[in-house]
């Protein structure tokens, strides 16, 4: 048993450990159990995960969380402070701000998820090519990454929006391209690290072709830090997406995108604090939660 746990991490790299019958529970189940215990011991992480799950639920089934209409308001109830009936108060048209935040989650999170996906796919592909092919490909991609890092990401996004026009999908593409460089960098470093390891050498020596080595050994083993980066980038992308939607480049007005909600409260700063503060705090909570989860993922990666 002890010997097995000692050797397990080394073997885990080189595909399945084979049919060696072991009395211990299967690898996956044990890892889940360890993961659950790890999370339960950290209240901060638990809260972060709860926040992300809650917001995801808002995005999927908003009507479960609020019965109020996010678009149509009751003019008689305009600019009411937060109360039992209106948790986040109401805006200048009498619309329930909490309902708008809940319904806005799907807009904001969909744009964010698309942005992360764009960054992840393009960035990982570039990083993979650079780390795997080396040579001049690595040099060219490395220079490209340097250039993307030299332009502040919001200005790069704004340049792309200038060319593409406004709208949530365009914002997502713009934000995603802004994070390509980071993904490419991390992926390249991971691929370089993994492809010099002994098990990759062993797989090559036993006649496995490069594509198979890549798919079966390099990618799974370099996914840890990339996963941590996905969580981190999710937080960054929420910030970028809501900043662009604050500037008015996202979904047009009546839609309750989070950045636009905060922006909509600008004219009522003196009288209705809840219009900017409460949606803003929701954004902060989501970003903090994503960063916390990212830190936990990074740490488990280091431990292994």
């Amino acid at each position: 048993m002890t010997l097995q746990t000692l050797t397990r991490p080394a073997v885990a790299g080189a595909s399945a450990p084979g049919p060696a019958t072991s009395p211990a529970p299967p690898d996956g189940a044990r890892r889940t159990l360890r993961g659950a215990r790890h999370v339960l011991r950290r209240p901060g992480l638990l809260v972060a995960i709860a926040v992300l799950l809650l917001v995801a639920a808002w995005a999927v089934v908003p009507q479960v969380f609020t019965a109020q209409d996010p678009l149509g308001g009751v003019p008689a109830d305009r600019l009411q402070a937060p109360s039992g009936a209106h948790w986040f108060g109401t805006d200048h048209l009498g619309r329930d701000v909490y309902a708008r935040v809940v319904h806005g989650a799907s807009l904001t999170l969909r744009t964010t998820a698309l942005a992360v996906a764009v960054g992840l796919v393009l960035g990982s592909l570039l990083g993979l090519l650079a780390g795997f092919l080396r040579g001049w490909v690595d040099d060219v991609i490395g220079r490209l990454v340097d250039v993307l890092l030299a332009i502040p990401s919001i200005l790069l996004s704004l340049a792309i929006i200038t060319a593409l026009g406004f709208g949530p999908v365009k914002v997502a593409v713009a934000v995603g391209i802004g994070s390509v460089a980071t993904f490419a960098r991390v992926m390249r470093a991971e691929v370089l690290r993994v492809s010099t390891s002994v098990y990759v050498e062993a797989a090559r020596a036993s006649g496995l072709r490069w594509p198979a080595v890549l798919g079966r050994h390099v990618l799974p083993n370099s996914s840890g830090p990339v996963l941590a980066l996905v969580a981190l980038d999710f937080g960054t992308a929420v910030l970028a997406v809501s900043a662009l939607s604050f500037l008015g480049y996202g979904t047009p007005p009546p839609a309750p995108e989070w950045g636009a909600l905060v922006s909509g409260g600008r004219d009522y700063l003196a009288t209705a604090w809840w219009l900017t503060t409460l949606p803003g705090l929701v954004i902060v909570a989501v970003v903090l939660a994503a960063n916390r989860v990212s830190r936990a993922l990074e740490k488990t990666g280091e431990d292994q």
Binding site: V147, L148, L155, A163, S263, A270, N291
Partner: protein, 332 residues
């Protein structure tokens, strides 16, 4: 030494050229038609006379092959000419130059506040003996990184302009109008700096030379400030280019929130009107700032740390920057 400087400068010029190229092709090759935008005067694109459109294309040289346009634009850009604004007709470079001073004031002040504040928070998060105090202070930088710039700006406005009328809510008049925007802009930059610095400080405090300093009987303050901080500051110093770039980007939102005149407002205005030459000029300018700051940092930091030699191989410096950059969120 000279060869090193020349090579680094050459790399900087290359990055600048590539930034121009990337921005040019993004702005000129993507679907929207600049001539139609000019003809519509920043309004609706739909009803534009085709003959007028063709005339405009000819006037701006947009009817030529894209590579000819690119070569021409590059040559002009080398002379500092980025073409004329589609909207106002003024030269894009002069519009940037005109907007620049106000933004320089803002970003300069924010950089100062971010460096001083970030350093103070980082030191304070390792200095106290009480564990809970250290932990509470260590939570500040991650919080600062998670705050949207527009949110910070609006909350400050709410409290210090409307509730307590201390600072003006909008405008560029006098130093007092600079206070709230400066704080707003400094929060993410300072938090980013504090994150890097406090991680680096924790590493440094475990170094043998710190133990030696303790053993020689140096005071707590002296160990932290004279021994640990000086060495820990170097990784934070290397990301100065990223921080300054981030400040320029942050100015876009900050100047919008506080209705200030400046480069950020010009950016928003140009993006709204799809004023391609001005956007190109701004992007290239921000890349220039990044390149210059990074070059200066690269040349100065061997002076701060004699262990680093100027002829250090490229791979080493690249590794150093990637290590310090990766774990911090770049805030919008």
């Amino acid at each position: 030494m000279t060869r090193y400087v020349l090579r680094r400068a050459g790399q900087g010029v290359f990055v600048l050229w590539a930034a121009f190229t990337v921005a040019f092709f993004v702005l000129y090759l993507l679907p929207s038609d600049p001539a139609a935008l000019v003809a519509s005067g920043g309004g609706e694109v739909s009803q534009v006379d085709p003959a007028q459109l063709a005339a405009l294309r000819a006037e701006y040289g947009l009817d030529r092959p894209i590579l000819v346009q690119y070569g021409d634009a590059l040559l002009s850009a080398l002379r500092g000419d980025f073409g004329d604004s589609y909207v106002s007709g003024a030269s894009a470079a002069s519009m940037v130059a005109q907007a620049l001073p106000e933004t320089l004031k803002l970003t300069g002040a924010a950089l100062l506040v971010a460096v001083v504040g970030g350093t103070a928070v980082a030191v304070a998060s390792v200095f106290p003996r009480a564990r809970f105090l250290r932990q509470a202070l260590s939570a500040l930088p991650p919080l600062g990184v998670a705050l949207p710039t527009f949110f910070v700006g609006l909350v400050l406005l709410q409290w210090f302009s409307f509730r307590l009328p201390v600072f003006p809510a909008i405008g560029n008049e006098g130093a007092i109008s600079l206070v709230l925007p400066t704080i707003t802009l400094a929060v993410p930059a300072g938090a980013q700096l504090a994150q890097i610095l406090s991680r680096s400080l924790r590493g440094t405090l475990g170094e043998p030379y710190v133990s030696t300093a303790w053993a020689k009987g140096a005071s707590r303050t002296r160990v932290h400030l004279a021994h640990a901080l000086r060495n820990a500051a170097i990784p934070a110093f290397t990301v100065l280019g990223v921080i300054v770039g981030g400040l320029l980007g942050g100015a876009v939102v900050t100047e919008t929130v506080f209705s200030r005149v400046g480069l950020g407002r010009l950016t928003v205005q140009s993006v709204n009107q799809q004023d391609v030459p001005v956007v190109l000029a701004i992007v290239v300018f921000s890349a220039l700032v990044f390149v210059v700051v990074t070059l200066v940092v690269d040349l100065v930091y061997p002076l701060l740390d004699p262990r680093i030699q100027l002829r250090a191989p490229r791979a080493a410096s690249r590794r150093a920057t990637s290590r310090t950059q990766r774990p911090t969120a770049v805030t919008a």
